[in-house]
Structure formats: C-alpha cells, structure tokens
Symmetry: C2
Subunit: 259 residues, 2 copies
C-alpha cells in the first residue's frame, strides 16, 4: 500500500490521540462525530481532514475506516453507515470483530493497549497494538498501519477472545493500579501530606516490576505474612477500605503459593 | 555535627540499601546481625565497618544506632543491647518510637517511604524520609542525616500515628500496585503474551497519575460505568479474581462520587 486514506469515526479520547498519530503516517480525510463541534475539535489538529456529522457523507474512497467509539456506538454506526470497500476496523478491547461485517467485506481490529486522555500527550511510538482481521490481507494491512503509527513496538495478533483478556490485563495493570494511587493520595492528604512524597516509591515500584517481574518484586506485610502489621492496618483503616485491604492481602498470599 | 559515626543493626533489604547510602555521608563503624555471615555481607560493601554478631560488642561512641530490622526484632534488640549515649532510631513504618527509650535517652525514627530489595540498585538521593524524635535536638539530628542521605528530597516529620498511615499509603501505592501487575502478568502469560506488551501502558499510567493526580487520571470500564464490559469481564475472569474485580470496580465508582 502507498499513502493510505483514512476516515476517523469518533471524537473521544482514543480518536483524539490516534487521529493525530495516523495523520503523520497517512492522510486522514474525514473525522465523523455525532455533533459537528466535536468532529471539528479533532479535525482542527489534522492536516486535511474534514469534519462531518452525517454518516452518509462518509467518503467511499478511503482505505481504512477506524471506529474510535464506545462498544455500544459500534453497532449503531455500522447499522447506519454506507457499505464501503476499504477496511472497517474498531479499536475496542471488548467488542467482537464480527459486528463490522455489515459495513465492509474487509474488517478487523486495531486495538491499542494504552490509556488515552484528551489533551494529555503521550509517546505513541511504542504502543503495543493488537490486530485481528477477517482475512490475511486485511490483517497484514492493519499490521502495516500499526507499525507505521508505533514503529518502536512489535505488532501482535489477538483473537477477539484474547483481546478481551488483554483488556482485563489492562484493567488490572492500569485502571486498578491508578485507583490504588487514588486511595494512597486520599490517605496522604488526610494526614497532611502531598501526593508527591510517594513519587519516588511509585517510580521504583514500576522500575522493579519491569526489571524483575512483578511476582519476584513483591514486598510488604502481606508477602512477609507480617500479621501484626496487617492487624494494625485493618484496625486503623477507614471502614470502606478494610475489605479491599483484606482481599488484596489474601490474594498476594494465595498467588505467592503458586509455583 | 561533623562526620557522624553510625552503627547499623540488621542485615535485610533496608540495611543493605541504607548502610551503603549512609557510608557515603558518614562513617559506618559496625554492622550487627544475628549471624556473622549476614553482618559480613553488609559490611563488605562499606569502607571501614566491622561485622559483629554480639549486641554487647556494640561500640559506645557512635552518634547513631540505626535499627533496620523487622518490628518484632526491635524490642528484642532494645532489650539486649547496652544502653548508649548516641541516638537510637528505627526505620519501621508501624513500630512505635517509645520502644526505643530503654536503649538511649535520645531516640527517634528515620522512616524511608521506599521499597528495598537486596541487590536491586535504586536512586537513594530522592527518597522521602519521615523523621520523629523524642526531643527537638534528636529530631534535628535525624533530619540532618536524612537530608545528607537523600539531598534531592524534602525531609518530612511524622508522628507514630501519621507514620502508620504513611505505611498504609505505601501498601496501596506500592505493594498492592505491584500485585495488580502480578495479576496482569498471569493473565497475559495464560494468553500467550509476554509481560512486556504492558510496559508502555504501565509507564503512561504512572506518568499520568503524577502529572494529573490519580483521581483525575482514572479511565476504564468502572469509571465509565460501562456495565456491559464489566459483566463480560466478570463472566470470563478466573473465579479467584472475580471478587477483587468487583470490589475494585465498586470502589472506583464510590470514590468518584466523593467531592
């Protein structure tokens, strides 16, 4: 394939980031959003993209139609967009690929294992992309665009089933991790400290998990079976955190017994 | 104070790291451990330190006696060491300071909010230390040694009560975070992927939590109240992870409702 023509569908966090990344390696022709204002916000960051708010205005000459929308919106869009010749792909961790068959003979998935927040820049050159295609030609096209967007990372394949498990790994490894830090921040602030006192510990925790593997890097009262400290913590914790503390302590002790 | 003379008591992860850091800014005279082999392992990394395995051999001329041992061992050591003139301090997040009164008229705490693993190097120059002292002179001496060890970080004060809450914040922000990554790794490996596919996501998760505050940085199915995805995840998760997934999802949704 030469320079590809791409239509971005969606205007949320994923669209905000991926449209900019794709615009550097391909030609984003259009950005669709339900409201024109939203489409304009995304398109204004791109070189030639036209904002549209009517699915019937979608250009039929694009190579790739990338749906960067929530799972519910995927079916809605597929039901209402014109049938196209290019590849129709979504970016969701949990939606099935087969939903897309109605929109094109060539369909697939381009799933970025990453957390996106509008306006917060990130290094897109090393995102782990996971691709799926309804045939080998489609799969290879999606692999190509993935490696163009993110040249420093290996492109991986994932079936819909594997992708759902990848999404769960990301929920634990990103969403739940971030929530642990939210709890830390609340505890620190309630005791007169700023979150920043924890930064060196957070950084070292990440570094060790990547250098040693998290299972080997585990420290703390749970893995030491330090029941005195665990009891003290359970006694002085706010009541809404006791259950989580106990559950995670049990889970650390259970997983450490596995081979 | 000029160049301080320090005795390190203990040979675990904390002793391994702090003894090396202190040896750069002070004179570590002795390292005590229950078994001489352990004391030698630590002392061999230091300039002049002598390994000892008898508490009665502790030199009476040191300025600081730093107990880098588990909470249970603190009382045991204090009960059996000679009474000294210098400051006796422990490094524990949960042990009370008053245990130390028996060993010296000057006692306190030098608590590093960090995770230490023997042999895994870390940047000690920006550790958050939290100090407590039985009088102002002792406290200032401990502040001075903390800022010498870790010149890039502000030294903070913490009462025993505050220190216990700091320790809990570290359990959530380090131990539980690491455990989330252990779970991610298990899921990835069971589906044929290497942990490294998650590294870019882990790095961005940390970066966003530090740039935005974790509460604002929260993403994922729980905060979006995306019940379809949550149900799918609960259905396909291994049974030992369902409870944790549900608990943490509820906790994210509860905390997001707070002002």
């Amino acid at each position: 394939m030469g320079m590809q023509k791409v239509v971005i569908i969606g205007a949320g966090n994923v669209a905000w980031h991926l449209s900019k990344a794709i615009d550097k390696v391909a030609d984003v022709m259009q950005v669709y959003a339900r409201r024109l204002e939203q489409a304009k916000e995304i398109a204004s960051q791109l070189l030639n993209a036209k904002p549209i708010d009517n699915l019937l205005d979608i250009d039929n000459s694009a190579d790739l139609y990338l749906l960067c929308v929530g799972d519910k919106a995927i079916t809605e869009i597929v039901d209402n967009m014109p049938k196209v010749k290019g590849i129709v792909a979504h970016t969701s961790g949990s939606a099935n690929m087969e939903y897309l068959a109605k929109a094109s003979k060539r369909y697939g998935v381009l799933y970025p294992l990453q957390t996106f927040t509008k306006g917060v820049e990130l290094d897109i050159s090393k995102i782990s992309f996971f691709t799926e295609g309804n045939n080998i030609d489609t799969l290879l096209s999606l692999d190509e665009i993935a490696s163009l967007i993110s040249p420093k990372a290996k492109v991986n394949h994932a079936t819909s089933e594997q992708r759902r498990m990848l999404h769960i790994a990301a929920v634990f490894g990103c969403n739940f991790v971030n929530h642990m830090w939210t709890i830390s921040e609340e505890i620190l602030q309630n005791n007169g400290y700023d979150m920043s006192v924890l930064y060196p510990l957070m950084e070292v925790t990440l570094k060790k998990a990547m250098e040693m593997s998290p299972k080997e890097a585990q420290t703390g009262p749970a893995i030491r079976h330090d029941q005195n400290t665990i009891n003290t913590h359970l006694r002085i914790l706010p009541s809404d955190l006791k259950t989580i503390y106990q559950e995670l302590t049990d889970s650390i002790q259970n997983i450490s017994r596995k081979p």
